[in-house]
């Protein structure tokens, strides 16, 4: 049996055990919802025939927060990575500070963030950036540093100008490490935004999840959780496509 098939079988087995456990086991329906019912509820949520209020409005809020957080993370993170690798003094000066902040779990700074920025979208965006930006900066700087100077010298001697060297030599050579950083940064931005929504409940998918768990609407809760988890899955899929296209 090929590994892919075995994996599929393993996942199916989990679903069957879960279904059997929920239906036949002596367990409260408040704790576990069977997967078939969860899938049914996902369809109902998407078609808005459900008790979940205003799914699309809330999902759009979360997506906007995520977009803003990741956009700023990429922009600032890549810019800082460039600054660190382009100038040794700047890199030496700020990278230790960055490493210390990288080691601190950013979650303990979240109370300060929401105290300062309120309960709406801002604190979630800022917290998402705080969680996501470090890997982007460090990986961008590391990727740019590991470009072989010989390649650059060669390209210069072949008559490339500075812009061409930058786009045709430096960026492709640094791309794998940079993309790995962006991928991790994206995963962390999602975590940041969702944590933000779950701890300071106001709107978004986090609000819906909190609502469902508060009402003990367990199948709806499972469905909403799966929908939110799939954000990470689809993001990862997007990065796979980018990686295949850019890295040869």
């Amino acid at each position: 049996m090929s590994p892919n098939l075995a994996r599929l079988g393993f996942v199916l087995l989990i679903f069957v055990v879960w279904e059997g456990f929920a239906r036949l086991g002596n367990i409260s329906p408040i704790l576990v919802a069977p997967p078939t019912e969860v899938i049914w509820h996902i369809l109902r949520i998407f078609s808005t025939f459900t008790t979940v209020p205003e799914f699309y409005t809330n999902a759009w809020i979360t997506l906007r927060e995520l977009g803003a957080a990741f956009g700023i993370t990429v922009f600032l993170g890549v810019a800082m990575g460039f600054a660190f690798s382009a100038n040794k003094t700047v890199g030496d000066a700020f990278e230790p500070i960055l490493l210390v902040f990288y080691a601190i779990p950013k979650i303990i700074l979240y109370p300060i963030v929401f105290l300062m920025l309120g309960t709406e979208m801002m604190p979630k965006i800022v917290y998402g950036i705080m969680v996501g930006i470090f890997v982007v900066v460090l990986n961008t700087a590391a990727g740019l540093r590991q470009v072989e100077p010989v390649y650059i010298a060669l390209a210069r001697s072949m008559g490339y100008n500075k812009l061409e060297v930058f786009f045709k030599v430096i960026i492709p050579a640094a791309a794998p490490t940079m993309l790995a950083g962006l991928r991790m940064g994206f995963g962390r931005c999602i975590i940041g935004v969702i944590v933000g929504e779950l701890l300071v409940v106001n709107a978004g998918l986090g609000y819906l999840i909190d609502w469902a768990s508060f009402q003990y609407f367990t199948p709806e809760l499972y469905a909403l959780i799966l929908i939110t988890l799939s954000l990470g899955y689809f993001g990862n899929l997007g990065f796979n496509i980018l990686e295949n296209r850019w890295i040869k």
């Binding site: 109370p111 988890l229 954000l231």
Partner: protein, 256 residues
């Protein structure tokens, strides 16, 4: 890690720039408090924060014990289980190919949305905090252990065998040392993830630990104490990280 190389030749300009930046940051922070750019109800200056520190250290003792205890249980169990399972799965190529994509998926999805489910299943006690933190630490550890096995060069194992090493010696002298760098990366990630997991759960439950303390200081607008509490928590996490770092360096000493 990356720090090692740089220590040799860090210029005076870099030092000046770094400390200048830190000083500017503190001045800016104090000014934004003094000049009330942000309502002082929501922002405390650095001087007030440091003043509140002794008092916060006084009230935080039980919270520190709760957090550090929960962290060590979660971190040690998740890294032990992750390392053993990762070693078992990673040694067999077929299992590696079967489970690696699933485990990577386990890292890349935002597991934090499971938070309400954990509360539903395990209640609002310490068990929930520890289970959630252990799960957070488990995935990075198992993946890095599996990746670490790929660092072992089959040739070296073959040579060691030919030179008459027995199995235990091979593991001690060849396999473990070549796994070590990636393995310690995994430990760092597991440490960071389980620590984050602990604080998230503590904040969500708001009962035990430093996370709960900081959260309740925030929602009751005791801003000076909040900042002091965050400083205290941050320094504890830094101490744990430095301890782990020196442990990794001690075991990796033979490389330099």
């Amino acid at each position: 890690m990356a720090k090692k190389k740089k220590k040799a030749g860090i210029g005076i300009h870099a030092q000046l720039m770094r400390w200048g930046f830190i000083a500017l940051f503190f001045i800016f922070w104090e000014l934004s408090f003094r000049l009330e750019w942000i309502d002082p109800l929501f922002l405390a200056g650095p001087i007030d924060s440091f003043k509140a520190l002794p008092e916060v250290i006084g009230i935080s003792k039980p919270h520190v014990y709760a957090t550090v205890g929960a962290f060590f249980i979660a971190f040690l169990s998740s890294s032990a289980v992750g390392a053993v399972l990762g070693f078992g799965i990673g040694s067999v190529n077929y299992l590696y190919k079967t489970f690696m994509p699933l485990l990577i998926l386990g890292v890349s999805i935002p597991k934090v949305v499971l938070l309400p489910l954990f509360i539903l299943w395990f209640g609002i006690g310490k068990l929930t905090i520890i289970t959630y933190a252990a799960l957070s630490g488990f995935f990075p550890m198992i993946i890095n252990t599996m990746a670490a096995i790929k660092e072992v060069k089959p040739n070296q194992v073959l040579i060691a065998k030919a030179m008459g090493y027995n199995k235990i010696q091979i593991y001690r002298k060849v396999v473990f040392p070549s796994m070590l760098p990636v393995l310690s990366t995994g430990l760092f990630y597991a440490c960071h993830s389980s620590m984050t997991g602990i604080f998230i759960m503590e904040m969500a439950l708001a009962r035990y630990g430093l996370g709960a303390m900081v959260y309740s200081l925030a929602v009751t607008f005791r801003t000076g104490e909040l900042y002091a509490g965050v400083l205290l928590t941050a320094s504890i996490t830094i101490v744990i990280n430095v301890a782990l770092w020196s442990l990794a360096r001690y075991f990796g000493k033979w490389r330099d």
